[in-house]
Symmetry: C2
Subunit: 225 residues, 2 copies
């Protein structure tokens, strides 16, 4: 019996241009009506997660900044500090290795960047020296604290709602979704997911992106009945 | 020939619980594909408008804080100052007449508040002394600078895209939408709109809220053909 579905946003409930799939929105609403809790976790900032929560009609807490910050009702709860990510970000800027992104003005626990051409790997290597991690959502790059990943968000939800691994399904398409693909949870991926995720998935959709995720959600709802 | 549709968000493209209507989303996308520019103006903060722009797939600039701030591509442009709204807000709080709302942490040109029980009218009267305006979107109350209204947003778009009144349609349901219901523009309202708006409307939908707005958008697309 699945009690919670934790999902990525960009590429997972959207198309490849980040437009939300109305089929995924309808499937999320249907899953909630069937009694399943649905939560979102994304590299996005918390006011964007607030907008998704409000306009999609998500009833459970949602997470921004890769799991580093939670919106639960009207309360915003950061779990990490922005100091280290910002130091590394400032270093990248001063060295001309990256540029900032629009949403940085609303970040509280991480920083986003656009790498200069060909600098992707060099930045990843530098991150270790600065005691931070970098993650690529497939839509943008993020500088994070160690341990600030989607698995952390999942552990918060498990504790909060007293859930076991086999009561949880996760849906995602990118490398930064891997930390929530934990042993014992149902791992579902839309067909556009990275091969590494598809390989370990229990469920792979026929359609891609948001339409695939809609399919996965409806299968999860049915499997509960 | 309608070239631009400027629309409210809450109650207009959503249901009464602020969940977005997937029919409205599809109609917006269809209007854009037909060559019509679609823009949104709302009391919401700009990162929420960024989320709506991204996930709905709106291509034109969008406005937050009742028209006081614009997101155009990656550029955020405030047209007003937050000093006066914040002074009045602090006064309301210190007198125990109102409480703050979640989105205030992201406001740049206005403040939102929840009036204490029965204090609505008193606050409206006090606003004049503090040289600010207050507006109720039907979902929350906002403290604004004089002239910071949806008509201001419309004038920005008209200048930016060199539009005449008869090339514009506006869609809204509440009193704070009235300033964009200007002479000569097509005024469209979903059936849930306030009677004052319905009275001056050129188009009234049969269905209510987001489903009504979808209907209006499709009528505007057809009328262009």
């Amino acid at each position: 019996m699945i009690k919670l579905v934790l999902m990525d946003v960009d590429g997972t409930i959207t198309d490849r241009e980040r437009r939300v799939s109305t089929e995924a929105v309808n499937a999320i609403r249907k899953a909630q009506r069937s009694g399943i809790m649905v939560s979102l976790v994304s590299g996005n900032v918390i006011p964007v997660m607030y907008a998704l929560k409000t306009y999609v009609g998500i009833e459970s807490p949602v997470f921004g900044e890769n799991g580093g910050i939670m919106l639960d009702g009207d309360s915003v709860q950061p779990f990490f500090d922005i100091t280290k990510p910002r130091q590394f970000f400032d270093t990248l800027l001063s060295m001309g290795l990256a540029q900032g992104i629009l949403t940085n003005r609303w970040r509280e626990t991480s920083m986003g960047y656009a790498p200069a051409k060909g600098m992707e790997d060099r930045i990843v290597k530098m991150a270790a020296e600065y005691d931070v991690e970098v993650a690529n959502s497939g839509f943008s790059w993020h500088i994070l604290n160690r341990g600030q990943d989607k698995g952390f968000a999942l552990s918060i939800l498990m504790r909060k709602f007293n859930l076991k691994h086999d009561e949880i399904a996760v849906i995602g398409d990118s490398f930064n979704d891997l930390p929530m693909f934990k042993d014992g949870v149902v791992k579902a991926v839309p067909s556009n997911a990275e091969p590494e995720l598809r390989k370990i998935a229990n469920l792979v959709s026929e359609r891609s992106h948001g339409k695939g995720t809609a399919e996965l959600l409806l299968r999860i709802v049915r499997s509960n009945q």
